[in-house]
C-alpha cells in the first residue's frame, strides 16, 4: 500500500486546477520546444495529486530544462549546474512532509551532476526526478551531451563525438533506483500517467523524458514520437502484459535462448503466450536491465513506460527512525546536561 508523507489536502477544501500551478512569470523557452509540453502536463496533473501546493517544491540545476521551477506556482529553487539532487536531498531530509521534485537535463544530471545522480538513486529519498533528455546541451547552444549518439556532429564536435553515450535507464537501475520509467514529451496522456505513478511511488522515482530540442537537435526522437513511426519503434511496458507492439499490434518480443527477437503473432507461428511478460515489481533487475538495453544494439523497439517499481526503505525514514530511537533510549536531548557531560570540576 502506498503511504506518502506529503500531507494531503483536507476534505472539503476547494479543488485546485491547472491554473493554480501556473506562476506569473513568462515562459521563455524557444517556440516549439518540448519543454512546454512537459510543463503543461505537470501543471495539469498536479491538482490530481491531492497535495496543497505549499507542500510542493521544485528544484532544478542549470540548463533550459532547469528554468522549469520559475514557471510553477509552488516553492521552487533553481540551483547550480548538476547539484539539484544534493539540494533536494537536504530539503527532503529537513522536512519529509514535502513533495520534492527534481528537474534536470541530460548534461545537468549525467555530466556535471553524474556523481550526485547515482548517489541520489541509491539513497532512495522519496523524491521525483524528471530528466529532460534532448541529447544535447540546449542552454549553451548545442554541444553534444553524454546521451548524444557516438559520432554526433555539433559545434564542439565538428568531426563527430568520439565518446560512447550513457543509457540513463541503465544507469539509474545500476545505481539501485527503485522506480525507473521513460516517457515522451509528445505523448501527453502517457506522460501524465507516468508522472502520477512516479509521485505515488514511495522512494526515488526516476523518469527519463524524451524531449525535442527543435533548435539544436530537432527530431532526435521523432522515430519514437511521430504517428507514422511510433508504433513500430516503441513498445509500451505494462505490468503483467506481454511485450506487443506495432501499428497492427501484431509484433512481439520473445526470448530465443538468451537472445531477444521480434516475432509476428499474426501468422499463427507464435502467440502472445510466447512473448516476454513484463514484471515491473520484480526485485531482481535482470528483466529491467535487459529492457533498458535491448534497443541499444539490436533492431528492437524502444521501451516506454515503467521498467521497475519496488519498495525499499527511504533514507529520510531511516534517519527519522534513528532519531526517534535515540530519543527513546537516551531521552530527549538536554543541552545543560550535554555541556556538563563527562569529567568536570568546580571552582568556587
Amino acid at each position: 500500500m502506498r503511504r506518502k508523507r506529503s500531507s494531503r489536502i483536507p476534505a472539503g477544501a476547494p479543488t485546485l486546477s491547472k491554473k493554480d500551478f501556473e506562476s506569473d512569470q513568462d515562459v521563455r523557452w524557444c517556440p516549439g520546444c518540448g519543454d512546454y509540453s512537459i510543463l503543461a502536463q505537470t501543471q495539469r496533473i498536479m491538482p490530481e495529486l491531492g497535495i496543497p501546493k505549499e507542500n510542493i517544491v521544485f528544484i532544478s540545476g542549470i540548463g533550459c530544462s532547469s528554468r522549469f521551477p520559475y514557471y510553477m506556482n509552488t516553492y521552487g529553487f533553481h540551483t547550480i549546474h548538476g547539484r539539484a539532487p544534493t539540494i533536494a536531498s537536504g530539503v527532503k531530509m529537513a522536512n519529509p512532509d514535502l513533495s520534492v521534485w527534481v528537474i534536470t537535463g541530460d548534461g545537468d544530471a549525467l555530466s556535471i551532476g553524474g556523481n550526485h545522480f547515482i548517489h541520489l538513486m541509491r539513497r532512495n529519498f522519496d523524491v521525483n526526478v524528471l530528466l529532460f533528455n534532448n541529447r544535447i546541451y540546449g542552454l549553451t547552444k548545442g554541444q553534444y551531451s553524454p546521451t548524444s549518439e557516438q559520432g554526433k556532429q555539433t559545434k564542439s564536435t565538428p568531426l563527430g563525438s568520439v565518446d560512447t553515450p550513457f543509457n540513463p535507464i541503465s544507469l539509474a537501475l545500476a545505481s539501485g533506483a527503485t522506480f525507473v520509467a521513460r516517457s515522451l514529451d509528445r505523448d501527453p496522456n502517457h506522460l501524465r500517467a507516468i508522472i502520477k505513478s512516479a509521485f505515488e511511488h514511495k522512494g526515488t522515482s526516476f523518469i527519463e523524458i524524451y524531449q525535442n530540442c527543435n533548435v539544436f537537435n530537432d527530431g532526435a526522437f521523432f522515430q519514437y514520437t511521430e504517428k507514422d513511426t511510433k508504433a513500430d519503434n516503441t513498445v509500451i511496458l505494462e505490468h503483467n502484459e506481454p511485450l506487443v507492439f506495432g501499428a497492427e499490434r501484431d509484433k512481439g518480443i520473445r526470448l530465443n535462448g538468451f537472445q531477444p527477437e521480434v516475432v509476428k503473432t499474426a501468422n499463427g507461428e507464435y502467440s502472445t503466450e510466447d512473448l516476454i511478460v513484463h514484471d515491473q515489481y520484480a526485485e531482481d533487475t535482470t528483466l529491467a536491465n535487459f529492457l533498458a538495453r535491448m534497443s541499444d544494439t539490436l533492431d528492437l523497439p524502444d521501451p516506454i513506460g515503467i521498467f521497475r517499481s519496488i519498495r525499499h526503505p527511504c533514507y529520510e525514514d531511516l534517519m527519522t527512525s534513528q532519531i526517534r530511537t535515540a530519543k527513546e533510549r537516551m531521552g530527549e536531548g538536554n543541552l545543560e546536561a550535554l555541556l556538563n557531560d563527562g569529567e568536570t570540576w568546580t571552582v568556587s
Partner: protein, 617 residues
Amino acid sequence: MRKPVEQIEEATILFAGDSGDGSQTIGTQMTETTALIGNDVATLPDYPAEIRAPAGSIAGVSGFQLHFSSEQIHTPGDLCDVLVAMNPAALKVHLNKLKPNGILIVNTDNFARRNLRLAGYEEDPLEDDKLTKYQVFRVELTQLTRKALEATQLSVPEIDRCKNFFALGMILWLYNRPMEYTMKWIKAKFAKRPQYIESNILALRAGNTYCEATEQFAVSYDVKPADFEPGTYRNIEGNMATVLGLVAASYQSGLPLVYGSYPITPASDILHGLAQYRNFGVVTMQMEDEIAAVGVAIGAAFSGALGVTGSSGPGLALKAEAINLAMIAELPLVVCNIQRAGPSTGMPTKTEQSDLLQMFYGRNGESPLPIIAPSRPFDCFETVYEACRIAVKYRTPVIFLSDLYIAMGAEPWKIPQLSELPEIRPDFAGSADTRNGFEPYLRDPETLARPWAKPGTAGLEHRIGGLEKSDVTGHVSYDAENHQRMVEIRAEKVARIADALPPTEVFGAPEGDILLLGWGGTYGAIRTTAENCVADGLPIAHVHLRHLNPFPKDLGDILQRFKKILIPEQNSGQLLQLIRSTYLIDAIGFNKVQGQPFHVFELASKIDEILEEIGRA
C-alpha cells in the same frame, strides 16, 4: 621514606613515540588528570598523516605536548621540561625541544641496532656526549612492562601495547598526580574487553611504583592548582567545542541541525561528534563529496533548518560555487573550515592559517561573506554559536574559520550557563502581508535581511535561485541598474553586521609602540608574548580579531594609536594585506609557514627587533 617533593610553577611534557605507541592516548590522559586537579593546561598533538608509517621510522613519529601551570597559560609551551622518547626516531625528531638540564626518559629496549638504523643514527645516541646536558633516565620500559604483566594471560604483543601506560604511570608519579582518573577511563574504555582493564592498570601502577622504588628518581614535582574564576569546568578540544556550539545553537533556536560533510582531516571529528547526538534531533549526512555536503545543508536551510557544512581547504575549494548560491539566495548557512597546511593536499595533519583570502575572495563575482575565527580551543563554542546567530539573523552563509591547532588542542573550559547564550530567533515569514503578495526580497530596513519563508507555509510559495534577482520581488532580472543595486545591497548587508558588534578588547597599553594584531590559533603565543611585554612595562598591546569580515568598527581608531602594527600569521601575510588595503597603514607581517605554531621566543625576538628600530631598546 617518601622522596622530597619540589614545588614548581609550571611544566611542559612531550610524549613521543611510534604512531602505534599510544602517545596521543597517554597525552590526553595526562591532560585530563591535570585539568581535573585544577591546573591550567594547553596541548599540542602532532601526529603523522600516515596511519601506519613504517614502524620506528622518522615519518612515523607521533608526539603529544602539554603545558600546565598554576597560572593562566595560553600555549602548549615552547621548550619541554620532560621528553619521553619511546624510540630513537622520537628522540631524533624531538630532542631539540628539550630544555637544557631537562628530563629525558628513553625506552632503552627500543635502542637496538635496527631501530637506530631506522631513525638514521650511525651511532647509539645514548652514548653521545651531547646528552650530558640533560638528565637522562634510561628505562627498560618494554622489559619492565612485560615483567609486570607476567601473570596475565595476554600475548607478548598485547602486553607490549600496554607500555604507554607504564610511561604514564611514571609521569604521574613525577608530577604527583593521582592515577584514579586514568583508571576510571581505562575501565570505561575497555568495558567490553575486561582483560585489557587489568593489564593497562597493572602497567600504570608498575610505572608509578618503579619511580617510587628506583634510586634514579630522587625528587618529584608538584604544580599547585591555578586560580580560575568560579564555575564548573571541563577539559575540551576545539572540534568538540565546535560540536557543542552547533548543538547549542540548534537547541536554543529551535531549528533542527542538518550537518552535511565529507571526511577530511582535521574536520572529520565534527562529523563524528555530531553523529552522536541524534537524540537532539541532529541529522548528520555523510555525502558523496564536499559539493553534495554543502548542497544538503543549503537544501535544509531552504526547508527551514539550521544547515551546516564542514571541511578543510581542499573541500572548501569544491564548495565555493554552492556557497555562492546560498549567498545570492540569501539563505542562512554555516560553513566550517578547519584549516590545515596547504596548498593542494599540503600537510594534512599540520596547522596553518592560509585560507583567509580563499574565504574572502574564493568565489566568482562579488560575493561578500561574514567570516569569523575562534582564537583557542574553548572559544570554538562561542564563535561557532555566533556564526549560527549571524547566519540566521542576516540570512547569509557565514564562514567559521578554525584551524588544526585549536581544533585538536585542548584546554579547560568554563561551561557557560544557558542563560548566557545570546538569543537566536528564526523569525520565519508567517503570511503574505504585502499588497503584492509575498515578496521574498523585501528587506528588514535595519539589517537588510530578507524573509525566510519555509516550504509548507501557505501563501508564501516563491522561487529563488542563482540568477540575479530583482530587488524586493526576487524575480529574475537582467536590469543593469538593478544588478548594481543588488551587488551593493549584498555588500551593505554584511557590512552592517559590524553595527551590532561589541567594542574591541585591547589587551595591554591603550596606545604606544607596537600593537600585536592577530586572529585564529595564534592567540596563545601572541597573548603570552604580550603579557610578558606588559609585565616588563613595555608600551605594547594585543588585539585578537574574531570578526574578520566585517572588521569591527573601532579597529581603524585602535590601529592609529600605535606606532607599529605587527601582524603575526601562519601564512605569508593574508590579514596583513587586508589591513593594509583597508586602513592604508604600513603594518608589518611576521610569518611562519612551517605547519607548526609560533613559539613565544620567536615573537619576543621580533618585538625586540622592532623596538630597536624605533629606538626604544
